[in-house]
Subunit: 157 residues, 2 copies
Amino acid sequence: MKITFLWMGKTTEHWLQEGIDVYVKRLKHYISLSVEIIPSPKNLPKQDVGQQKEIEGDAILSRITSSDEVYLLDECGMAYSSEGLAEFLQKKMSASVKHLVLVTGGPFGFSEKVYRRANGEISFSQLTFSHQMIRLLVSEQVYRAFTILRGESYHHQ
Amino acid sequence: MKITFLWMGKTTEHWLQEGIDVYVKRLKHYISLSVEIIPSPKNLPKQDVGQQKEIEGDAILSRITSSDEVYLLDECGMAYSSEGLAEFLQKKMSASVKHLVLVTGGPFGFSEKVYRRANGEISFSQLTFSHQMIRLLVSEQVYRAFTILRGESYHHQ
C-alpha cells in the first residue's frame, strides 16, 4: 500500500514544518509515503467561505483517482484510539488497498463534493485544531500506528 | 485567575519548544500564566515504571498547594470541544478560582496519589500523543479558548 497525505495550502509555521518532517521521514522507513500540497486558491473575495470550499474541493478531487481510498480528517469523523488507527491501517493493507489518501482540508473544511467522494472521515479530537496543526498530528499518529503494528517501543515511551 | 502549566521533564525537541513558546507568549496577553517544569527523576532502574510514577507523582504534588484547582491531562478524562474547554475556563474564573494548575505527566502517566489529589481529568483525544506533544496541544487549546471567550477570530481562521 502507498499512502499520500494530501494537504490544502502550505504549512506556514517553520517549527510545525520541522516537526512534520521528523515524522514523515521516519514513516518512510515503514511505507511508501508521499506528501502532496495543494496551493491555496488566491485572489478570492474575502469571507466567501462557500466559494473557497468549492474551489479547494475541486482541487482536492483533481488529485484523486477513482481507485484511491480517500479518508478526510474531520472533526465529525470516526474517533480512533492509536491502536484503533493502527488496526484501521492494517485492515486497509490486508484488503489490498493500493493507495490510501488522507486529506486535511483548508481552514473552512471540505465541500459537499469532497464528502461525497470520500470513503470515510476520521476525527482526531473533539477539539478544533488548526488545519496546519492537524498535519503534525496525522504524521505523528500514522508513524505511531506503524510502530504499533511492528511491536516497536515508541508507543510506550 | 492564574494558570500554571505543570510539566514533567524538559521538552527535548526544539521545534516543539518553539511552537509551545508561540502559544505561551500569546496566552500571556490574556491571563497570568506560568510554565513550571519538573526535572525528570534521574538514575532510576530501567523499566521500573511503578517507581518512576511514584517519584514523579511526589514531585508533582510538592508543587501544588491545598487551595489550587488541579486538572490532569489524561486520556481517560473528560473530552471537551474547544468551545467546551473555553466554557470550562470561564466557569473557573466565574467561581473565583485563584490558581488553576494543568498538569501533563511523564511518559507513563500519573501515580494514584496524583489522581486522588486532582480535581479532575481532561482528555484531549482518544489517541495517545507523546507527553511532550500534548504540551503543544494544551498551549494552543488554552490560547484558543481565550480567543473564543473574547470573541476573536482565531478560532475560525
